[in-house]
């Protein structure tokens, strides 16, 4: 009964979304407030209906109702509760329902929190959200209905793929979708602005909190995914430039550019058409990502079994949404009046450089991701474009961007003083140079790249600190006054510094983990040891253990230096009888300096165990760096001038951050 109610709720949601997507547009054109307010009711109603549907599917999973085909295929009664719940989105149908649910949440949030939006604009934003919702609800209902029944119902389910039985599944997809789908708001705001033919500072101010939420969620989502892929064996480590990873990374790059160009619109009333284009592009790349992941057209480590008709449906959605948006852009963008001009050396130019480099980076990643597909379609050879391509194109684009980052954020609007800024960054630059030199001395010339990477990381972190110090006039006024300025600083300024420093930490982690990684593959009998870096790793014992729904073969490793124990790590091979599948849990000991990552492999005929041992220096900073960057986004979001519900800009207590906050 409950699954049928869920199905009914989805059908009602589709009807509401269609209503929300059409009537308010018509009413906004005619200036009819009743019809426009319908958009708000529609968005809230759609949210309630999709929530009911999602709740119904979750109930079917928790109650192990195997008469529902989706539950029977993907769940099992002996599974721990957390994996019954996260199993809801561990499959195609459920994950799309999650997608639609988050879309409905964003729609309702715009309806509920956007009290300061003029009614016609709000109606148009919600109408575009409604149209996106209608497209995806139709997709769920017609190609991927999660509520289909099985008759007769099996006595138990097939279980969830054991590799997915991991806390990562509970966190990574919802977070990633929050980001992907959150960008739909940017798209809707852009479309509404194009319909009205007006983009101004107020528009950019309305837009920014939504982009910030989506961007921060995407940052956390990608970082979580990277971490999950790192501790799961066979997924290519923390970053593999896999098509599915790229599919989430491209919207992130575009959203990063959007976040920066929206600042220019807000402060200087220029780069308007470009910002609109970026908003469209960000969501277009989200849709493309959904298409790539859900259609299975690309070979990926993370690919799931998929069905070509679904791919065609998403492709059609993609073509309609993106094609429509670009046509609208071509038609209306020339009407946008250009705003203020700026000198080649200015904050605007810095942000433009950021945008151009990020957009180019998106282009190269897109090309590398789609090129094999393109060649295959035109009947060319089958190829794969791997990490070397992306390393060779992405890194040279990012290095100038990162080098310029501390400089750009110190430049003044309109006309900047480059020598003055460089003067203020002098100490940071010297320190970075010194760090690079020191690293070179310690590591030797063969690690020149790593030394430069460490220098760059320090440059970014110090650059962010200098930015903060300049804002509070540290050492130029009395410390007490600096402290007062710090407290009066707009949150967005703190957010920028945090986000930029986080990128520095990220560079630190990437440099350490790629350039200084040590690896040892060996076959060890129990009691034998092998060298890894400065320690000897001994396989102390191997035994069997019983888990909740698996049997584990546990290998105990002990690292020794000069015969003394340094640490002990256990690695497991688990066998899941229900699914008939093994998984491997690497043993990982994390520290700020280096991770030790030990894997127990198969037993050879002579009784020795294949083992794979890694030392991954500084790798943990990759995720901490990304987390700090995402946190910067959240801190910015808490800025009172950006607060979604704030009807008017808050009165400023201190004149300090005025016009400087980015």
């Amino acid at each position: 009964m409950i699954p049928e109610l869920g199905h009914l709720a989805l059908v009602l949601a589709l009807a509401l979304a269609l209503l929300q997507g059409t009537l308010p547009l018509w009413s906004a054109a005619r200036g009819d407030p009743v019809g426009m307010r319908l958009a708000v009711s529609g968005a809230v109603g759609q949210f309630v209906m999709v929530t009911l549907a999602f709740g119904a599917l979750t109930w079917a999973y928790v109650a192990s109702d195997f008469s529902v085909a989706n539950v029977a295929t993907n769940s099992h009664s002996a599974k721990p509760l957390i994996y019954k719940i996260s199993g809801v989105w561990g499959n195609h149908e459920g994950s799309l329902l999650l997608w639609v649910w988050i879309l409905a949440i964003f729609g309702a949030a715009v309806a509920g929190l956007g009290a300061n939006l003029p009614l016609p604009f709000k109606a148009r934003v919600l109408a575009v959200q409604g149209l996106i919702g209608a497209g995806f609800l139709a997709f769920v209902l017609f190609t991927s209905n999660p509520f289909l029944r099985l008759d007769p119902a099996p006595s138990d389910g097939n279980g969830l793929n054991p590799i997915l039985q991991d806390p990562g599944l509970a966190m990574h997809p919802p977070m990633l979708y929050l980001g992907y789908v959150g960008l739909s708001t940017a798209f809707s705001f852009a479309m509404a602005a194009l319909i009205e033919g007006r983009v101004d500072a107020a528009w950019a101010r309305w837009l920014r909190p939504w982009v910030l939420v989506a961007w921060a969620a995407l940052t956390f989502g990608i970082a979580l995914g990277s971490w999950w892929a790192y501790y799961t064996l066979g997924w290519g480590g923390w970053w593999f430039w896999d098509p599915v990873e790229n599919a989430s990374f491209m919207p992130w790059l575009a959203a990063t550019a959007l976040l920066h160009s929206a600042v220019v619109v807000e402060k200087r009333d220029t780069l308007k058409a470009w910002t609109i284009l970026l908003a469209i592009l960000s969501f277009a790349l989200s849709l493309l990502g959904t298409f790539l992941v859900r259609s299975g057209v690309l070979t990926s480590v993370h690919a799931f079994a998929s069905d070509p008709t679904r791919g065609v449906f998403i492709l059609a959605l993609l073509v309609v949404a993106i094609g429509g948006a670009f046509a609208m852009f071509a038609w209306r963008a020339p009407m946008l009046r250009p705003g203020g001009s700026f000198a080649p050396i200015s904050r605007e130019s810095g942000l433009l450089l950021n945008n151009v480099l990020l957009a180019t980076a998106v282009g190269t990643v897109l090309l590398g991701t789609l090129y094999p597909l393109f060649l295959d379609t035109v009947g060319g050879p089958k190829i794969s474009v791997g990490p070397p391509y992306f390393d060779a194109t992405f890194v040279p684009l990012m290095v100038p961007l990162l080098l310029a980052m501390p400089v750009g954020s110190l430049l003044a609007w309109k006309r900047g003083d480059l020598p003055g800024v460089l003067q203020r960054l002098r100490l940071a630059f010297l320190a970075a140079l010194l760090a690079a030199g020191l690293a070179l001395l310690l590591l030797g010339w063969q690690h020149l790249g790593a030394a430069l990477g460490f220098g760059l990381a320090l440059w970014l972190v110090l650059g962010a600190l200098v930015d903060l110090a300049e804002r509070i006039a540290l050492f130029r006024v009395a410390p007490a006054q600096s402290l007062r300025r710090l407290r009066g600083l707009p949150r967005s300024a703190l957010g920028v510094a945090l986000a930029h420093a986080g990128v520095g930490l990220l560079v630190l982690g990437i440099t350490g983990a790629t350039a200084l990684r040590e690896e040892r593959i060996a076959a060890l009998a129990v009691g034998e040891a092998t060298a890894l870096g400065s320690v000897q790793v001994r396989l102390v014992e191997v035994h069997q253990e019983q888990g909740p729904n698996y049997v584990a073969t546990v290998g105990e490793f002990q690292a020794e230096r000069d015969g003394e124990e340094v640490h002990r790590i256990r690695s497991e091979k688990r066998f899941f009888p229900v699914e008939g599948m093994p998984t491997t849990k690497p043993g990982i000991l994390t520290s700020p300096w280096a991770d030790h990552y030990y894997v127990l492999g198969d037993q050879a005929a002579d009784g020795r165990w294949a083992v794979r041992l890694y030392r991954e220096p500084l790798v943990v900073w990759i995720w901490w760096g990304a987390a700090v960057t995402g946190l910067g986004g959240l801190v910015s979001l808490s800025d009172r001038r950006l607060r979604v519900g704030a009807p008017t800009p808050a009165r400023r207590r201190l004149p300090v951050g005025e016009g400087m906050a980015a």
């Binding site: 793929n161 590799i163 997915l164 064996l233 066979g234 290519g236 299975g296 057209v297 690309l298 070979t299 480590v301 993370h302 690919a303 799931f304 079994a305 250009p338 001009s341 700026f342 000198a343 080649p344 433009l352 450089l353 151009v356 480099l357 180019t360 282009g363 190269t364 090309l367 590398g368 090129y371 050879p381 089958k382 190829i383 794969s384 474009v385 791997g386 070397p388 391509y389 060779a392 194109t393 684009l397 593959i521 060996a522 076959a523 699914e579 599948m581 093994p582 998984t583 491997t584 894997v599 492999g601 198969d602 037993q603 050879a604 005929a605 002579d606 020795r608 294949a610 083992v611 794979r612």
Partner: protein, 152 residues
């Protein structure tokens, strides 16, 4: 107005330089770093790119997996027409087993052994890598329920 024109000129020039640079980067990187995908039949017929990495996809032949003492695994890959011996030093992915479709990247040794540097199996046990499906289709043994696995 003059300022705006100048500004636009800078922007266009800068973008052109950047795009040119990016295009050059992309072309050289594609030239050097693309891995071709071949089937076991193509390897047997020696239709493989010389002196560079490529990918090979197929099914793991039942009973062919041998774990050597020194952490090296040997097995054979088949598209049901031809078999290729593969050698891999390392720990195999969890989904690696007899009859499973996998993709390996590496180089062909002069003796005809494929030395893999990477062996990929997928997330999902019902998933078959697209290249493997295509190579089974080429061999004419692919069945739509994914059971084109003669050894099971």
């Amino acid at each position: 107005m003059r300022l705006r024109k100048k500004q636009r000129l800078y922007l266009v020039l800068g973008s052109l330089v950047l795009l040119g640079g990016a295009a050059a980067l992309v072309l050289t990187a594609l030239e050097q770093n693309v891995a071709f995908f071949v089937t076991p039949s193509q390897v047997a017929a020696r239709e493989v790119p010389e002196a560079r990495n490529f990918r090979i996809g197929g099914l793991v032949v039942a009973g062919s997996i041998v774990h050597d003492g020194d952490g090296v695994v040997r097995f054979r890959l088949t598209d049901t027409q031809q078999e290729v011996p593969v050698q891999y030093a390392g720990v195999l992915p969890d989904l690696f087993r007899e009859g499973q479709g996998i993709v390996a990247q590496g180089e062909l040794e002069p003796d005809g052994t494929f030395r893999a540097v990477e062996v990929l199996a997928k997330h999902d046990e019902s998933y078959m890598p697209k290249e493997v499906v295509d190579s089974l289709k080429d061999a004419g043994v692919w069945q739509h329920d994914g059971s084109g696995v003669p050894s099971q």
